[in-house]
Symmetry: C2
Subunit: 369 residues, 2 copies
């Protein structure tokens, strides 16, 4: 990548556990730089990065790896502490931070850009952003946002429970609906208590896609069917080392169960080394797909999303599809049971006494199924 003149950023997924210390993240940064990365990003997907570790990690990277190593801090807002973490990271020398325009910010999203600009006043640090132009952006996206209402998170406040469960809000609601579908909506508390145990057994992986889903689903399985009675294929692979190393040792007993269930051996090497070169084969398959244009991008798209890519190739000529909905339409304003209701339709069975030619009839009107 660097040979082609591009910038390679090495990203560290931040997490907390009894084993993780700020210095571990500094060491990870050193390793990434040794691999040839141009800059380091600290990615805090679950808003677990508190102000003091934010300061210590950024300071540590600058002191150990050099002041000129560019450090990028990416935090989400979910727990309500990370705006302060950005301030401390900036004080420690962070070069770049991620935010979102305020009308699309907060909840499980990022901290608001305009607030960050204002926050820095008088501190000796400054952005070069123009408040007037930011306000225009804010207003524009404030108008766009309601059109995507169905995709918005229910979290508008903060969720500090994440510090103990490490389960971000989005994953929480997924788990809740998984449990409800199995008629076990009342067992959420047990699952929340199980997640940290499963994570400990797996050697404390950071909970970030896909490990968050893998650990979360296994916790649901453990609660529903008994601890490790059934392992998901992905959790077995995680235990056997097929997702790479973890900071802590993995539980021997669960590794044995995983080996037994899958017939696979545990590994200690880089999992990607086990893959056979497959570019030429993927290229041949991709080129044969209707709508594929034969570019490297199309081969990569197929490699990453083999189920979705074929349909995408045949329909992309139609252009991007908007999933936005007009929030002003009555159908969108008054949905019932998930089904939009026309304002003039009858929404339940109603019986009327209808007088017709002097005679009263009982008439029942029911909505069309």
């Amino acid at each position: 990548m660097r040979r082609t003149g591009k910038h390679a950023q090495g990203t560290i997924c931040y997490t907390i556990s009894p084993l993780h210390t700020p210095n571990d993240f500094v060491e990870m940064a050193e390793k990434l730089l040794d691999l040839g990365c141009d800059s380091i990003c600290i990615k805090d997907m679950a808003a677990l990065l508190k102000p003091q570790p934010a300061f210590d990690i950024v300071k540590g990277i600058k002191e150990t790896c050099g002041e000129d190593v560019r450090v990028h801090v990416h935090v989400h807002a979910t727990t309500g502490v990370t705006m302060v973490s950005l301030m401390k990271a900036i004080e420690a020398g962070a070069d770049c931070v991620d935010t979102a325009i305020s009308s699309l910010s907060l909840g499980p999203g990022h901290n608001p850009t305009e607030s960050l600009v204002e926050m820095l006043e008088g501190t000796g640090f400054q952005t070069k952003l123009d408040n007037e132009r930011l306000l225009k952006l804010k207003k524009y996206f404030a108008g766009v946002r309601p059109r995507y209402k169905e995709f918005l998170s229910n979290i508008t406040g903060v969720e500090t429970e994440i510090f103990s469960s490490q389960i971000p809000g989005g994953m929480l609601s997924n788990m809740e609906s998984q449990l409800k579908q199995q008629g076990a909506g009342d067992r959420m508390e047990e699952v929340l208590a199980e997640v940290p145990k499963v994570r400990a057994d797996a050697g404390y992986p950071p909970l970030v896609t896909p490990s968050s889903q893998i650990v979360g689903t296994q916790a649901v399985f453990n609660v529903m069917m008994g601890r490790y009675k059934v392992l998901t294929g992905e959790f077995a692979d995680l235990m056997l080392g097929y997702y790479g190393e973890t900071i802590g040792p993995r539980d021997r007993h669960v590794i044995e169960l995983a080996a037994k269930q899958t017939g696979k051996e545990p590994i200690n090497r880089r999992p990607a080394d086990l893959l056979k070169p497959e570019w030429h084969e993927l290229r041949d398959t991709t080129v044969g797909l209707p709508g594929s244009n034969g570019t490297d991008e199309d081969v990569l798209t197929y490699a990453m999303f083999p189920k979705v890519a074929p349909k995408f190739f045949t329909t992309r000529a139609e252009g991007p599809k908007s999933v936005a909905k007009d929030p002003g339409a009555p159908a969108a304003a008054a949905p019932e049971n998930g089904k939009p209701a026309s304002p003039s339709s009858v929404r339940a069975t109603v019986t009327y006494d209808v007088k017709l030619n002097g005679k009263t009839h009982k008439v029942t009107v029911a909505p069309v199924k």
Copy 2:
């Protein structure tokens, strides 16, 4: 008050203007302590206190007035920067900060308590709050909150526009409805631009009740009827010094207009010195009101709220009234045109072909008016 063994806290309303500096607030704190206050509160009602001035003011008070002077910092969350300001105030030595349990926090409210507790980890500062108990409180009030939906602010994100207009969100929506009632909903931008001008003419009072309403309403009048063509009685009093001193000089021309319109003289002295002793008169009136119990509290209630107190005295025996509403009730869930609609009622005129004894009739069903 101190003679009776109570604690007297002197409060400084924080604001920003071309004239206000952190040192002005330190001097105000000194004056309040000279008057005999036991502690100082910095009250930031509009979330204008940024991290650096928060640090500078608290540090300044501690250095000038003594480390043992208790400093209390009260900020709202509206602009999205004040959680960071609390961190910096704490670093500067603040003794006490105000927060709200997360399920009642943010928007124009306070910053979330749980986030503040977590924010301090590893910093050397700590609260003595128990996370488990806070979580119980959070859950309890998460259930209470929807019952007061009609009183909740529309602001769930942040509003950094306040830094220029200094108009807090609540006041904004008041102004909008004032303008709409006068058929001038489209002149909001003009009013927003007028507010800082009126505030400058009035000598930069902090915009806090009642000065926020006084300045805001005058700005609306200026836009609707021409600048200072009509002064409200309160704005005239503000210009003439009847609300006390302001940090900046007040505009001579507007003072003259105010004197002319009201027939009052401008004053430079403490306005309360002009009041005649009125306790005995107020006591006599209060004791004569049905339901009054003759306590000093009742006299004070009547003194402060002469219009509301008489009704309160006669109805207080009925106990406190709940204004909560059941958010699950269909009436509250599906209001239409402000009118609650029963889920089984027809909501518009519908025509059906109804077959009755083999004969088809056109039947029109309309909602009951």
